[in-house]
Symmetry: C2
Subunit: 212 residues, 2 copies
DNA sequence: GACTGTGAAGCCATTCACAGCT
DNA sequence: AGCTGTGAATGGCTTCACAGTC
């Protein structure tokens, strides 16, 4: 299999294409061109074709792409042709919201357990998903073959949680704590920093103002 | 004024540097080198210096940077030397979590109102922040001089909410709905797609597997 | 001696433009 | 005729390496 360094931007876009194709499929649309996809997701036709070209030839010249077929290919590329077991550590506001977020299940992510050290929360459930003490993390991750861990605890605890996840065998982590955490090289780590996103907006707002 | 296209990646990193410098300042550390910053945030020294060089000369050769001073500069660059008024539309799990998120206030973002059309929620407060019906959005945004709107509603309603925000004069939007929305060119729009972040992880997990 | 600031080089991603199918 | 797939060109970001300063 050819694997010549795929840009991360390409993966992000594939994910967006897939969501768009799913919408189209629901509407009963069966065929689409790269130009129409670009229009729908806000990109360029050449970009769409380049992104797909990393993985194969999915279209028909002169015709375009079959919506459902292309979506199946992308879903397979992204590894979404099976369900993934996810745990969330932190049952505060953010952790609770993520646990109940419908967009995860729709894409094949099953949140199977939540962990928190607040004894008032342990034993309760969120949407039917049980809350365990963090001390049970290792045991449950191993028993349930968990693939992905989400960190939704305050910044000072994030590194400890990451360590516990790695220790238990998880090798993909999504971190919502606004702090840099370190993990072994072989563990996939992504950070979502909510404040950073607002700060990019304010930077751009200030830029606009300076143009006058 | 010099404004040579700053890479967005640079802005993201500046935001992270600032957070790190704030931590150091609290610990009483007064001086730091580009190498130490790089170490702390997971980057390269040259990158740190290049990022800062877009905006001026903040360090002393042979010595490094004054922590507090550099942080003040970055805060000003990002437009965080004043508070920003923020509203959130959608008082579901995610909207509630964002409304109560401490990381926003710490960086100068004041969530002053939440909007939702659920009559069971209207009139209540979240952390002292009132929930209004969406019909009041225009009035309140104008009266309170709101700068930024956050969309935390289900995908099908996101475009309507964005339209209402634009109509009311907001020109920076942070969208959490997993759908492409369109706004006039002069409005700053950023998207945070929670599922996409997990999908990048699964793509990378699959890649690793294929390496064997 | 140590560390910043920066032109130049290298690398990566996007856009162009056209050959190749249907 | 229409649209994909792709090498080539372009543009942009990152890394290198060193002159400049303390």
């Amino acid at each position: 299999m050819k694997t010549l360094k795929i840009p991360e931007a390409t993966i992000i876009r594939l994910s967006v294409y897939s969501r768009y194709l799913t919408q189209l499929d629901k509407k009963g649309i069966t065929n689409i061109s790269s130009g129409e996809i670009a229009e729908g997701v806000g990109g360029s036709p050449a970009q769409v074709r380049k992104d797909l070209a990393y993985f194969g030839e999915f279209g028909t010249r002169g015709v375009g792409y079959n919506v459902r077929d292309l979506n199946q290919h992308i879903i397979r590329i992204l590894g979404l042709n099976k369900n993934w077991q996810v745990i969330i550590v932190g049952a505060g506001n953010l952790g609770s919201a993520l646990t109940q977020y419908k967009g995860f299940r729709e894409r094949g992510f099953d949140v199977i357990a939540v962990f928190d050290n607040d004894i008032n929360k342990v034993g309760l459930t969120l949407n039917g998903i049980p809350i365990y003490p963090v001390s049970k993390l290792n045991e449950i991750v191993k028993k349930k073959q968990v693939d992905i861990g989400i960190i939704a605890v305050p910044a000072p605890y994030a590194q400890d949680v990451a360590d516990a996840m790695v220790e238990s065998g998880i090798n993909a982590i999504l971190n919502f704590a606004p702090v840099v955490i370190s993990v072994p090289e072989e563990v996939e780590l992504r950070n979502v920093d909510l404040a950073v996103n607002l700060e990019i907006l304010t930077f751009n707002l200030e830029l606009q103002k300076d143009k006058n």
